[in-house]
């Protein structure tokens, strides 16, 4: 039972353009969401978060949008850089989730120079 879904296993974008990574969730109790970035042979690195009281959070080139009614969030990277090439995971938690984050299956982003 996958409560957090990333339906695009991979994405390729030209350097300087926008990368949009999408994530859907099914549990309406989720109220806190994060994006992690993972390079090969490293653990996931926290990127940006958003709570359900907001619909947008920005941090430099990274912006996360949350659409609670659609149970959908997205990560925008502008402008994309080759160093952004990695696997991106979205994760969610909320009341009654047992002190855990539920992760999606990841989207592998390749930024082409």
């Amino acid at each position: 039972d996958q409560q957090v879904k990333q339906n695009s296993p991979s994405l390729s974008v030209q350097e300087g353009r926008i990368s949009i990574l999408n994530c859907d969730y099914t549990n309406s109790m989720f109220d806190y969401f994060l994006w992690y970035k993972k390079y090969p042979a490293e653990g996931p690195t926290f990127l940006i978060s958003i709570s359900s009281i907001k619909d947008k959070n920005e941090d430099g080139r990274f912006t996360v949008f949350l659409n609670k009614s659609a149970k959908h969030l997205s990560l925008h990277i502008v402008p994309s850089q080759p160093g952004d090439s990695a696997v991106y995971f979205c994760a969610a938690s909320g009341a009654g989730t047992g002190n855990q984050f539920y992760f999606g299956t990841g989207t592998s982003l390749t930024v082409i120079p």
Binding site: Y36, A41, G43, P44, F89, N99, Q100, F101, F103
Partner: protein
């Protein structure tokens, strides 16, 4: 300042054996969580410990157990290994509970069961 450290980095075990994985959290972090990441999947929650007490348990069999020590380091034990236990095991630390900034993950232990 050291991040989350895990040992060993790689491990090969035979079916039926037992394994112990170790994790040292970031200094000052009192919570440690363990996740299993199978190839092609996202991390799956196994356990969370806070102040040496189990605060959360995922949907894993009793062959999986963990503990947290007074210095907040942690061990994950897996008994009677199965081929399906082959995965990257990630340890994550946070100041307390889930934290407002998520976790800081270690680089993981790659376990291969043959």
């Amino acid at each position: 300042d050291a991040g989350v450290t895990q040992s060993p980095t790689h491990l090969i075990k035979t079916r039926g054996q037992q394994v112990t994985l170790r994790c040292s959290p970031i200094s000052g972090h009192k919570s440690v969580s363990w996740y299993q990441q199978v190839l092609g999947q996202g991390p799956q929650f196994i356990f969370q410990y806070y102040e040496k007490e189990e605060r959360g348990r995922g949907n894993f069999p009793d062959r999986f157990s963990a503990r947290q020590f007074p210095n907040y380091s942690s061990e994950l034990n897996v008994n009677a290994l199965l081929l399906g236990d082959s995965a990257l095991y990630l340890c994550a630390s946070s100041l307390g509970g889930l934290g407002n900034y998520g976790y800081t993950f270690g680089s993981g232990t790659r376990l291969t069961v043959v």
